[in-house]
Amino acid sequence: MPHDHHDHLSPSGHPYRQDNDAPLTYFQRMEIAVRELLIEKGHLTQAEIATQIDRMDARSPANGAAVVARAWTDPDFKARLMENAGDATRDMGFDIGPLHLVAVENTADTHNMIVCTLCSCYPRNLLGLPPDWYKTRAYRSRAVREPRAVLREFGLDLPETTRIRVHDSTADMRYIVLPARPVDTDGMDEAALAKLVTRDSMIGTGLPLAPENT
């Protein structure tokens, strides 16, 4: 169905999605049917579904950025994060449910990246839903085979001397990369630092922004 705005980008930088006035698909009908049957049989309510959507919408990379910035500025918190990232994140007040989260730290000689080769496991309860590319065959297949080539596609050309560690997530254990704090940020407070932390820097397919780029 042609729409005249297909060539433009939404404020989020993504193409506009199809409107809800596009022709009803088979799986959309299935979603409506499943939802109605679950409600009629007393397993769920409309309010629970709406609340869960709000809860998921409220999760975003900004939550992870706050965690990273805290780790950059508070050595005790960083120690707790490396010990048990799920508990440290819950202690900060983030609603991440039962997520078992493991933080992996980038250092001067090691760069970490995360993938789920088997499906699409991602620290969604902290960072929100994963980007589409994270779920693609190309990323899942190649991240563990040729991570340097994959990183170059993201604009990240790491020196051969940097060791790259690729972490394969599972439904029961998910990773977040703790990127290295950028140079020339000594005077910055936690809130300013958090603005440097991008989604991709916590997946490992990017680095934090330099302070002059914010």
Binding site: R17, N20, L24, Q28, I32, M56, L129, R137, R140
Partner: protein, 111 residues
Amino acid sequence: MTDTPEHRWHDMGGQSAGPIPMEGHDFALWEKRVDALMVLCGAKGLFTVDGLRRALEDMGEDAFEKYSYYDRWIAATNQNLIEAGVYSLEELGQRMEDIAKRGATYGEAQA
């Protein structure tokens, strides 16, 4: 890749593949609802994440290539709910037929 004794089709790590497709999209309401149904049904113990994954993996590689992410997730959610006896296949089919008669778009097809 098809299934082998060592790797089923979904076990993609290490295969060769083309460039990473970088385009993304904003999630539609129906996709967010699928996500919510999956999370809530899991939390209420109607199925497990392993049950969902089994259904997704058994759909096979053709489904992976042919259908969107949330197409596959609602199909897996539905299969687990039918297996759990939450409703029957007949109830689902009848309801989907009824929904088709309500209107031509997702918005019009809401009860």
